[in-house]
């Protein structure tokens, strides 16, 4: 087991995001939906052969070592995916990544009154879609 485990981290963030949203603690729920999607996409990239450090993290200096929304834009225009039968199996499950366009890692510094909490249902749906993709890849035995 490497120190970095994108797949399990994605599941953990998603679970906690749902919990926080249920409790009405929307600002951090929103942050965690973004982290969950980010980790899920990175897990997919690593499963498809993206180069990693010995502790399982994505190597520095790669454009994909980023947070959403830049990460989802990078993934949406992916060229690192293999072609062949599997090329679209997982990426085609991700139709809502653009919904993270108004998500920002900097939201963690923002005042609660100006955070776009109205976007949370969209972020939630997009993160859950990434979660479903991870489940599919896990059941397939490729992750």
């Amino acid at each position: 087991m490497t120190q970095v485990n994108f797949r399990d981290a994605s599941k953990r963030h998603l679970r906690d995001a749902v919990e926080l949203q249920t409790l009405g603690r929307l600002p951090n729920a929103g942050q965690l939906y973004g982290f969950s999607a980010e980790c899920g996409l990175k897990a997919l990239l690593v499963a498809h052969g993206l180069a990693c450090t010995p502790d399982g993290d994505i190597k520095r200096g790669q454009s994909l070592r980023a947070h959403v929304p830049n990460l989802s834009q990078a993934v949406a225009s992916l060229t690192v995916f293999p072609d062949g039968r599997n090329a679209t199996r997982y990426i085609s499950m991700l139709s809502k990544l653009a919904d993270f366009n108004d998500w920002s890692i900097d939201h963690r510094y923002w005042d609660e009154t100006v955070l776009p909490v109205g976007a949370i249902p969209r972020w939630s749906a997009a993160a859950k879609e990434v979660g479903a993709m991870l489940t599919a890849a896990e059941l397939d035995g490729v992750m």
Binding site: K11, R15, R85, T88, M93, G131, T135, G141, V142
Partner: protein, 445 residues
């Protein structure tokens, strides 16, 4: 330690689910990944499942050798949304033979199995048939082996239906071996676009305008009261067919509906063409062999599947593998078998009585050992039983024959009788019984 092979792994895993120490209220299901590796799943919270049962399953998983999937048994709380797993539409009650140590040989049990595959899922996806309201019958022309006169028979049936005043829609879904349009259309009458064009254009949101320019009228219907409209695999003057074909099987993301897989796209294409063309009958040329396109045509589209066959061992073996795949999933079997009918292709001109009897016997053996219900001796016959006698003319194994004749050997349906093409007598003599069978079963009049 002996090497565990693919078949043995599923047998061992199934047997492990029967262990008396497992709580009967929470049945254990099997998941087999794309490499054939197996793990267990139980639809309860991990904390609700006894620790010794977890340990039993873990031991059983490890006994599968190279076919043990990584990771332990899956429970509800392993997922934020456990429905993604436990309500997956590809779960099937599956019959698995277990003959491991301590088991009587040949014993079969039923377990829930989720088979994750790279291709071939479509052979088992028959549910859409149930809910869909069909406007026109869809007749699929299929052969486990190619080269048995499938496309010719399709062309002739289209002609016969048009002669009866029907609006006939033909689809060439034999994408890897396109040719139906060549048989039925002079080159200058082939439509601008073909089915592969729709698939690549629709994937980028431009399918609608392709739909209007992907059909043309076959001159074969010119002297009839009906029409034959053809959607070819490739459009006129195509120069990039392989580059398009190489992309058609892609799953496509959709903002509203999520992922749309190839089978769903083909089903949507056929429905949209039917809405546009309003045909009385749809004839579909399927790909031969055990290919996904055939699976989609047969399991996902057809109201009647014509199984073309000749009396050869490789032919019966091929069908036997396919039928056994359905036989192992009882619900799928019930959905699929009423739609099947066998066609004896290239029925020879000599020794007809003997050859006819032998074909029927072989066909009966195939159907009765795989698709028909077995009623144990001494038990009452259920009312809805699916079982037939060898000489029952209404049985799916009882073949509709197409006679081989030298006149039809190098046959060009577009050539008039005066110029050496087939006349109505030739056609009736070769295809008459086939026409009658298909029309009474699927079309009516």
């Amino acid at each position: 330690m002996t090497t565990i092979r693919f078949n043995e792994a599923i047998s061992l895993a199934a047997a492990a689910t029967l262990d008396a120490s497992l709580p009967a209220v929470s049945p254990v299901s099997l998941i087999r990944d794309v490499y054939g590796r197996i793990r267990f799943a139980v639809n309860v919270l991990r904390s609700e499942y006894p620790a010794d049962a977890v340990a039993h399953l873990e031991l059983a998983r490890k006994s599968l050798g190279a076919f043990a999937a990584p990771g332990g048994t899956l429970f509800r709380d392993d997922f934020t949304d456990s429905d993604v797993l436990f309500k997956n539409p590809d779960w099937h009650d599956t019959i698995i033979g277990i003959d491991g140590p301590g088991e009587e040989t040949g014993r079969e049990i039923v377990v829930r199995l989720l088979d994750r595959q790279i291709v071939g899922q479509y052979w088992l996806r028959t549910d859409s048939q149930e809910s869909e309201k069909r406007t026109a019958p869809r007749i699929v022309f299929y052969g486990i082996k190619g080269g048995v006169g499938r496309s010719t028979a399709l062309a002739m049936l289209a002609y016969r239906l048009a002669s009866n005043g029907k609006r006939v829609l033909l689809l060439d879904l034999d994408l890897e071996s396109p040719g139906l349009s060549g048989l039925l259309l002079p080159e200058d009458r082939v439509s601008t676009f073909g089915i592969v064009d729709w698939l690549v254009e629709d994937a980028v949101g431009q399918g609608a305008d392709v739909l209007r320019d992907m059909l043309s009228d076959s001159p074969l219907a010119d002297n009839t009261t009906g029409t034959i409209r053809i959607a070819p695999a490739m459009g006129q003057g195509e120069s990039s067919y392989l580059a398009k074909l190489a992309r058609v099987y892609a799953d496509v993301p959709h903002a509203d509906t999520g992922q749309e897989q190839f089978a769903a796209r083909i089903q949507r294409l056929v429905s949209e063409l039917e809405a546009q063309e309003k045909p009385d009958v749809v004839l579909i040329d399927s790909r031969a062999g055990l290919h996904d396109l055939a699976a989609i045509s047969i399991a996902g589209l057809a109201s009647l599947v014509l199984l073309f066959a000749t009396d050869t061992a490789q032919n019966w073996q091929g069908y036997s593998q396919l039928f056994s795949h359905w036989q192992g999933r009882p619900q799928v079997l019930r959905n699929i078998r009423p739609r099947l009918a066998i066609v004896q292709a290239l029925f020879p001109e000599t020794d007809q009585v003997e050859r006819s009897t032998r074909f029927r016997q072989n066909s009966y053996e195939l159907f009765s050992s795989t698709l028909y219900d077995q009623i144990p001796p001494g038990e009452a016959t259920p009312l809805d039983v699916f079982s037939f006698g060898v000489d029952d003319e209404d049985a799916p194994h009882f073949p509709w024959q197409i006679r081989w004749s030298a006149r039809l050997q190098e046959f060009d349906p577009l050539l008039s009788a005066e110029k050496g093409g087939p006349d109505d007598i030739d056609i009736e003599s070769a295809f008459g019984r086939f026409f009658e069978g298909v029309i009474s079963a699927a079309v009516g009049d």
